[in-house]
Symmetry: C2
Subunit: 126 residues, 2 copies
DNA sequence: CCCTATGTTATAGTAAGTATAGAACATATA
DNA sequence: TATATGTTCTATACTTACTATAACATAGGG
């Protein structure tokens, strides 16, 4: 599987799970319509509790990355609310950029880094 | 003061404090060499406990934004470790950009937003 | 020298969040 | 009917967040 949890990390397990699933979608390792392991399967594979996986899945559904169904399990289904996506991006970028500015990171350097990461993530979107 | 805490937020108070102080530095509302209120003064002004402020100050020192002194209080002192700053920026941007890509936010849109925020934060650095 | 203010540390308590465990439920599928 | 699904419930242990007192060494002002 594409999931690897760092149990020594200060980041919560369910958050690591969310981030890694989202990353897998971004690099198209997971595609629209594909199914994820059930909460119990995923929990067994990773070696964590079912409820921790369930929490991650519930957040991913709330944030518009998954649709959960009692019969077909968890399926990738992106909710493309562009307005919301942009405002969330804005909110996430602000504190990150504030830190960068304090450390004398120029606008050009920051943009170069964004471009680098976009390329790394497959360049599926230009 | 430039600090306003949202007590209903799910973000920890000491984290809100850190973010707002860093933002104030970024927009040059606080400048190198300036002093912040003492942990006790700041705690009184905001209406929170001394230790919560102390925790925020300690993190800001660790991350190279402040220097703390027993006599002169807390003073803005940016540690310009560019390598570290860039690697931290990289690490922070990754999950944010992964989310954006999933939501079909193009590279150009993301870069435009970075430019917008840089301009908002004063354009002191181009 | 005394008093005050500084950051710092220690202890303790409450509340909330994280992760675990076991059990049960309704429902859809094979 | 039997199985597997997400979902919900209760319960426990642990960690973190926040508050509350108290104390300490040290530097500066009067």
């Amino acid at each position: 599987m594409f999931i690897s949890i760092d149990f020594n990390s200060d980041e919560a397990i369910y958050m690591q799970l969310c981030d890694q699933i989202i990353r897998a979608i971004a690099i198209q390792e997971l595609r629209e319509g594909e199914s994820l392991p059930s909460v119990r399967q995923m929990a067994d594979e990773i070696g964590i509790n079912m409820h921790t996986v369930n929490k991650a899945y519930a957040i991913l559904r709330k944030d518009g990355f998954l649709k959960l169904d009692r019969r077909s399990g968890a399926m990738i289904a992106i909710d493309l609310d562009k307005i919301k996506a942009l405002s969330e991006l804005d909110e996430s970028l602000r504190p990150v950029i504030a830190r960068a500015i304090c450390k004398d990171v120029s606008k050009e350097e920051a943009i170069a880094m964004v471009e680098k990461i976009y390329k790394e993530y497959g360049g599926s979107i230009d």
